[in-house]
């Protein structure tokens, strides 16, 4: 007898439908079942939780299935396939094309649609909802011709939408019917604190305001509010809640909940035994859940049931933590204190805009829930504490007082840390020990910091402390050293090591301090006693090669060079017998120069108008460019001019690691700007600025820091970004890993650089201005200084004798280093 494989049909490919398929593959359901996923949209599942970041990262980064298919061949994803009917009796679904598909089990994951209240004018051009990538695209397009916009709905998604409008440069209003923002999650006092934060960002908040009509004849011109002045807006976004997409189930006469949603039991089974419903379209016990985590739980339950398991959906943790408009907001457990006899403990600081509330059981022993606004750092400890029923410490107020942050508490192993993916503290530790990672923090991200801390604490507890001291001579990180030098105004290594270190330094701390002194003082890297701190490349202003010779790279800003320039470089290479090669940074490398030849080579380069390219330094290397709008038929901006300007502005800037830039004249990105530490890509309106890219062993794509900037703003942001990096990164830490190491990552960089939350903007710009003003060519300064020139001899006692250990052979018509076997010891050499 042949074993017949069964077929599961999944309708809908949103986050929950995708999770169902993932779990089915992981847990082996596809060993016995074929799965067909029918998605009405052309786009496979994407991360709707992070929808607002679409403008920055694009659709590809949001996709949950970038390849567009599952690796398991037993799963078929059919996009653009709309289901129009379900026949439970015949067990078939019918597509809009008329095609019928048989199923053994049907999983409905059709999600929800945005609710638009029936107000006059709701169908006018200029009225949008906020749910899909297509919605965001339409909003972005309309925003180009708009000056101001309003979001109807001050809940979680409404504030996200408001942030999107603000980022698009619109004067933004938030209109909320309830008396406070985020009425579901926070209480009245928390809502007030949140409103103040939001208003400080320049948004207008209208709470307790009812939208009566959208005004306008052919398009939106304003909106009328009950008992208030109407608003002049060009664009309206409705974000007033969602409704379950249950029409297929209704037509198939499946039971639905009173308030909408496909009614399912605790196994997520509908009124038909072969049909299941999960996510926002489902209503377990009549209740619909508009968050992704409960949907994920439902998906897992159905997979478990289809495998013959006993899983059930036990209601959901509606805890939320997010950063809205730069403000931390969190609520968890019984946030509104509805449990009988519940007590409240609150802390409020109107000056800094922090509000925290704990809801505690009548006997004062257990945490039931809470609200955090303005500072949600304690969420990672408080939410699991509430969920696990662990007894409260004696002074629960310490949990929310400043400086407290719940840090003193230890979570039990079984405490759930990631509620989206049901990962416990024990899971995280077990995975870390096995060298693996859990799914914790991969959905909403709110538990990322807590997850990191659990791993760190675990290793610290085992005595495996990660020592971030730069080396044995200084118990400080590079950033701390930078601050120490700045605060005390040190100008020499001797003073620094005497005051803050031990011994006489090494090849790690000396170049790091040389770089810090160069960043703070300017001046020549070979001046005075700093020369002996430099790595050989900086010490000889050239790059050492395998046979002890050096390479010379003159600066060719933006890669633009005249025929005369090319000829001069060619002549110099020919006359000194150097090997030449084009570099990856659009310049020319001259290799095989013996140390004593360097000044003569520089002399000729400097005389021809060239200068050091700093190819030897932890410093700005090049700013690569395409030919841009001057020549290219696709170019929209003059990328060459900008690349030259940026390269000349930042040339010579000493940094924790080498720095590269790129400027592309259009979105075709021929300059590979996103593979650089800072990359600029031209748009119709200006420039998009990307940061944190690099090639090399660990390639990283730069991510968008800010978009559509004019040139002056671009330069201002770059000044701040680079100086902030120079000041705070670790030794040999490139921009990509520096950004990742900051708490908050790229968002933090944006807060500091764009929003200037630390108030450092002017200081960073001034530091860069000092660098720009203080720049000089190190090669020229060296050949004009006899004292520095004296170093460039092969032997102190035989300045003109070439080192006998350096020799060359010929390869492909040019020189190549020959291996030296070491000094030949004359007979009886060991006298």
């Amino acid at each position: 007898m042949t074993h017949l494989r069964k077929r599961i049909v999944v309708v809908g490919h949103g986050m929950v439908g995708h999770r169902f398929v993932q779990a089915a593959i992981e847990r082996g359901l596809t060993e016995t079942h074929d799965i067909t996923v029918l998605a009405a949209e052309a786009r496979p599942a994407y991360d709707r939780v992070a929808l607002t970041s679409y403008f920055e990262v694009g659709a590809k980064a949001l996709s949950l299935l970038p390849k567009g298919r599952y690796d398991d061949p037993r799963v078929t994803l059919r996009t653009g396939s709309e289901v129009v009917a379900v026949s439970p009796r015949r067990r078939i679904v019918t597509l809009s094309t008329g095609e019928d598909l048989h199923y053994d089990a049907l999983v409905l994951a059709t999600g929800a649609y945005p609710f638009v209240p029936p107000v006059p004018g709701k169908d006018l051009p200029g009225v949008f909802v906020y749910r899909t990538i297509e919605d965001l695209e339409a909003i972005r397009k309309a925003a180009r011709r708009a000056r101001s916009g309003a979001v109807v709905g001050g809940g979680l998604l409404g504030l996200e939408a408001a942030n999107a409008l603000r980022r698009l440069g619109l004067e933004t209003h938030v209109v909320e019917l309830a008396p406070r923002l985020m009425a579901i999650q926070v209480d009245a006092a928390g809502g007030r604190t949140l409103s103040r934060h939001v208003e400080r960002l320049g948004l207008s908040v209208h709470t307790g305001a009812m939208t009566e009509a959208i005004l306008g004849a052919r398009k939106v011109t304003g909106m009328a509010l009950k008992d208030r002045k109407s608003l002049d807006v060009d664009l309206v976004v409705f974000s007033a809640g969602i409704r379950p997409q249950d029409s297929l189930a209704r037509a198939a006469e499946l039971a639905v909940a009173e308030r909408g949603g496909i009614l399912v039991d605790e196994h997520c089974r509908t009124s038909d035994e072969h049909i299941w419903a999960i996510g926002e379209c489902a209503a377990p016990g009549g209740v619909m859940y508009g968050l992704v985590a409960p949907g994920y739980s439902m998906a897992e339950v159905v997979v478990d049931r289809l495998l013959g398991g006993e899983g059930s959906f036990e209601g959901a943790d509606m805890s939320t933590k997010l950063k809205l408009l730069g403000v931390d907001v969190a609520s968890f457990g019984d946030a509104h204190g509805t449990t009988e006899g519940a007590l409240e403990l609150t802390y409020a600081d109107d000056v800094t805009g922090v509000y925290k509330k704990l809801v505690i059981s009548e006997d004062g022993r257990r945490l039931l829930g809470g609200v955090l606004v303005g500072d949600a750092s304690a969420y990672g400890v408080l939410r699991p504490l509430a969920a696990s029923g662990l007894p409260l410490p004696d002074n629960p107020e310490d949990l929310i007082l400043p400086a407290g942050g719940g840090g003193g508490l230890t979570l039990p192993t079984e405490a759930q840390v990631c509620s989206c993916n049901d990962v416990t503290k024990g899971d995280i530790i077990a995975a870390a020990e096995a060298g693996a990672v859990t799914r914790a923090g991969t959905t909403c991200g709110s538990c990322k910091a807590q997850t990191r801390k659990i791993i760190e604490d675990h290793y610290a507890g085992q005595g495996q402390v990660v020592d971030r001291s730069i080396c044995e001579h200084f118990p400080l990180t590079r950033q701390e050293l930078f601050d120490v030098v700045a605060v005390h105004g040190y100008r020499s290594f001797d003073r620094i090591v005497e005051a803050h270190g031990t011994g006489r330094g090494c090849d790690i701390c000396k170049p790091a301090i040389a770089s810090i002194l160069a960043s703070q003082l300017g001046g020549h890297v070979l001046a005075g006693s700093t020369r002996t701190l430099q790595d050989t490349n900086d010490a000889y202003l050239a790059n050492i090669q395998r046979n002890g010779t050096y390479s010379v790279v003159p600066r060719i800003p933006g890669g633009e060079i005249t025929p005369e320039g090319l000829i001069v470089i060619g002549e110099i290479a020919r006359d000194h017998g150097l090997y030449t090669k084009i570099t990856g940074g659009q310049r020319i490398d001259l290799l095989g120069a013996r140390m004593e030849q360097l000044p003569a080579i520089w002399r000729r380069l400097v005389d021809a108008g060239f200068e050091s390219g700093h190819a030897y330094g932890k410093a700005l290397r090049t700013v690569k460019s395409c030919v841009g709008s001057t020549w290219c038929r696709y170019g929209v901006q003059d990328s060459v001019q900008l690349a030259i300007d940026l390269e000349l502005r930042y040339r010579g800037l000493r940094s924790p690691h080498k720095l590269k830039g790129g400027v592309s004249g259009c979105a075709r990105e021929c300059a590979e700007a996103r593979a650089k530490d800072f990359g600029v890509i031209a748009t119709e309106k200006g420039w998009n600025l990307y940061v944190g890219g690099n090639g090399g062993a660990t390639p990283a794509h730069a991510r968008l820091l800010a978009g559509d900037l004019d040139t002056a703003t671009l330069v201002r942001y770059l000044d701040r970004f680079l100086m902030y990096y120079v000041r705070t990164a670790d030794r040999l830490q490139r921009t990509a890993s520096w950004i990742d190491s900051l708490d908050g990552g790229l968002d933090r960089v944006r807060e500091v650089v764009v929003d200037d939350v630390l108030g450092l903007g002017t200081e960073l710009e001034e530091a860069m201005a000092r660098h720009v003003d203080g720049y000089f060519d190190e090669w020229r300064a060296t050949i004009e200084d006899p004292e520095k020139l004296a170093r460039f001899v092969s032997f102190v006692n035989a300045p003109d004798v070439p080192d006998p250990d350096i020799s060359f052979r010929e390869e492909r018509g040019q020189i190549a280093p020959a291996v030296s076997l070491g000094p030949t010891i004359p007979v009886g050499g060991a006298r």
């Binding site: 090494c506 090849d507 000396k510 701190l533 002890g548 010891i825 060991a830």
Partner: protein, 109 residues
């Protein structure tokens, strides 16, 4: 012994290369005023570069780090601190009235 240079031609915590009987010798001066001499040839990278290394201390041991791949060599003995099997020959060296004199290659200690 061969006079090679004045001691003040060597920076404190710096090095110079000298040609002694046709062989490249690296001469270093440390912060405490001592002068050391060893072969300029780095056996790890097979290049004549040690005089251009950074001088420092590990614990109480004065060392030079090869500018090529950063292996450290004890200035007193030439012993590689990162690889017990590697040692660089050292030379007798002395400062006489401000002049650095380099003598014969020393036997292994």
């Amino acid at each position: 012994m061969t006079p090679v240079c004045r001691v003040d031609q060597i920076e404190v915590e710096g090095g110079v290369a000298a040609l002694v009987d046709g062989v490249a010798v690296a001469i270093f001066r440390t912060h405490d005023g001592n002068v050391y001499a060893m072969s300029n040839y780095d056996p790890c990278s097979r290049a004549s570069v040690l005089a251009r290394g950074i001088i420092g201390t590990r614990g109480g041991t004065p060392f030079v780090a090869s500018p090529m791949h950063k292996q450290a060599f004890d200035l007193r003995t030439g012993q590689c601190l990162d690889d017990a099997a590697v040692r660089v020959p050292t030379y007798d060296v002395r400062v006489d009235e401000g002049v650095v004199l380099v003598g014969p290659r020393l036997e292994s200690p």
